[in-house]
């Protein structure tokens, strides 16, 4: 009771200051009441799902939460904090002042390092692992190290571990866990859409993989329809979050959801309903222009987003690169993305702290930036002004720039409507 009150008071204090978020109250409770998390979560009748991996954590967590919400009351850290303190903050805000948690099950997105810290405090019933790609190497060191972190997380699961059969580093974890492995995969003819880290870097392509007994499979995908098989049930539907990578995320979510007492119909219903997560393919209508915002944070994700963008046929593209801690201080990863596909004439401008770096990168791939501007709002406004009504502007942005961009786009969209 005391931890919840403390956390809630911190939360209320923040609101008085006109700020929100669960991270700070979570941190306060984490420091003062180190056993709060384990004690609270062990009361959940259907336990905890931890979602981790390099790409797709936020979207997949949202999908798992949406599916489980078909049957259960779900606690999730959907405010963007994927550190342990974010899970504590989420628990505090979903509790009554007397400390009772209004939830049956929790779904937590955790970054790889914090997932390890989380499982040291609470052994989750289920873990869902997505992929291991190069991401913020300045923080984690190397991707083999990242894979070892995920293995440690999986080894603490007590019921089931959802594993991606198309990622060799994730698949190898199956032999090292006590919980039941639950596989998900994409159909053979879709595998080229999901290159592994090795393939992205020109290495050997994958050996054929065992394909029997997957709990969920991505059977077919195009820009209009996603077809997923869960056990013997197969459905085709439009997924609101665009891109092949999100179809794979949906398959991962379906696999782990199938270990709960849910029917395939309920799982499909949850997937059909889920909206894109913050900045992961969100759209804004501004003065007749369609503006969509896509988070980019590592080479694999950026390449997939660029591939998805080509399907959307944009009139302009704006790339916003910051280099704060949450973006990764090292921007060399931009050189692991192939931009030659943009050399066909869609005007591209750059913005953010590293706007010039991005423009240099583009120039070496044969793309001359139309404008280079460190300041976000003017850069976006200029790109908007240059986009004709009825046309589409795509914005790719690193993490820390997204908040300002999102605020600016929401304000511009309102201003136009008023």
């Amino acid at each position: 009771m005391l931890p919840v009150m403390t956390g809630k008071l911190a939360l209320a204090g923040l609101r008085l200051l006109g700020r929100s978020g669960n991270a700070l109250p979570g941190l306060v409770v984490e420091r003062l009441f180190p056993r709060y998390l384990a004690k609270t979560l062990s009361a959940l009748p259907h336990g905890v799902v931890v979602v981790s991996g390099t790409n797709g954590k936020t979207t997949t967590t949202k999908m798992v939460a949406a599916i489980l919400a078909e049957r259960f009351r779900v606690l999730t850290n959907d405010t963007g904090s994927n550190f342990v303190r974010g899970t504590i903050g989420a628990a505090v805000s979903s509790s009554t002042w007397t400390g009772r948690l209004d939830a049956d099950v929790a779904v937590f997105e955790l970054d790889e390092a914090h997932a390890v810290r989380f499982v040291e405090r609470y052994k989750p019933e289920r873990v869902l692992l997505l992929n291991v790609m190069r991401d913020q190497l300045d923080r984690f060191g190397e991707i083999d190290h990242t894979a070892r972190l995920l293995q440690q997380v999986a080894s603490q699961a007590t019921v089931a571990v959802g594993l991606n059969r198309d990622d060799a580093r994730i698949a190898a974890i199956a032999g090292t866990i006590d919980a039941e492995p639950v596989w998900y995969q994409v159909a053979d003819d879709l595998r080229h859409l999901f290159p592994t880290d090795e393939e992205l870097y020109g290495g050997a392509s994958r050996a054929a993989r065992d394909s029997d007994g997957a709990a969920a499979e991505l059977v077919a995908w195009d820009a209009n329809a996603t077809t997923i098989r869960i056990g013997d049930a197969e459905q085709s539907f439009p997924l609101r979050a665009s891109g092949a990578h999100n179809a794979q995320n949906a398959t991962a979510a379906a696999a782990i959801a199938s270990t709960f007492d849910l029917t395939p119909d309920e799982i499909f219903r949850g997937l059909r309903a889920v909206e894109p997560a913050f900045g992961r393919g969100q759209s804004f209508e501004i003065d007749g222009r369609d503006v969509s915002l896509h988070l980019v944070k590592n080479p694999a994700g950026f390449r997939q987003s660029l591939a998805a963008a080509r399907v959307e046929d944009p009139a302009r593209i704006c790339i916003v690169i910051n280099d704060d801690d949450a973006d990764g201080r090292d921007v060399s990863w931009l050189w692991d993305v192939d931009f030659t596909g943009l050399a066909d004439g869609v005007p591209v401008s750059t913005a953010g702290v590293r706007a010039a770096d991005m423009a240099v990168r583009l120039r070496y791939d044969g793309v001359e930036a139309a404008a280079v501007d460190a300041a976000l709002a003017p850069a976006v406004d200029r790109a908007l002004a240059a986009t004709a009504p009825g046309e589409r502007l795509l914005i790719f942005s690193t993490y820390t720039a997204m908040w300002g961009l999102h605020r600016h786009l929401v304000a511009r969209a309102k201003e136009v409507r008023a």
Partner: protein
Amino acid sequence: MTPLRIVHLYPHEMNIYGDTGNVVVLRKRLEWRDLPVEIVPVGVGDDLPSDVDLILGGGGQDAAQGEIGEDFQRRGPELRAAASDGVVILAICGAYQLLGHEFNTAAGTRIPGVGVLDVVTNGSDTRLIGNHAVDSEWGRLVGYENHSGLTTLGPAATPLARTVPGRGNDGQDSTEGCVQGNVFGTYLHGPVLAKSPRFADELLRRALERRGDAAELAPLDDALALQAAEVAAKRPR
């Protein structure tokens, strides 16, 4: 004119932190000047082609450095021959360490190098990591360092650039990288050549000069690269 032949060593195993970008930078800077260029990827088991003008090697994960270790050893004689023949070599991070005499890991294993550079590297528990801008004879070099191996230069190796304690080769002697003849070693990723255009051109100039081709390179507009370098140099580590 025969194309300038650039060997990219271990493109699949040694390519972290964008080091492959150095190949892109050199190729483009030649193409922009209408100078012909040929890139030859050389992986484990591949032969080094004849008449090599320039060799680029990047950093790799620990596991990858293990995979290429034996292959790299086997290449010792031809790499030493290339270096003494004046072939221009740029080695980043892991490749820099392997070109030295030896690498002693933190766990106490001795990995012999090929001895092209008069340097020795010792593994450590601290990681030198962050944005790094250093002054060299060929202008400011701007990149990002990320290594726990600490490198000490012998008398035959000259520091590539000066830096401050806590950064560079061993974190103590205020040097970054080394030069020995036409062989350059550095810990700068980034890739280093993207924001260090004068240094990129120096490598090309030396390679052309060695072949006896006119080594005057037409100037390029590098305002954007220098602007990016200025921003990067001011960013926090």
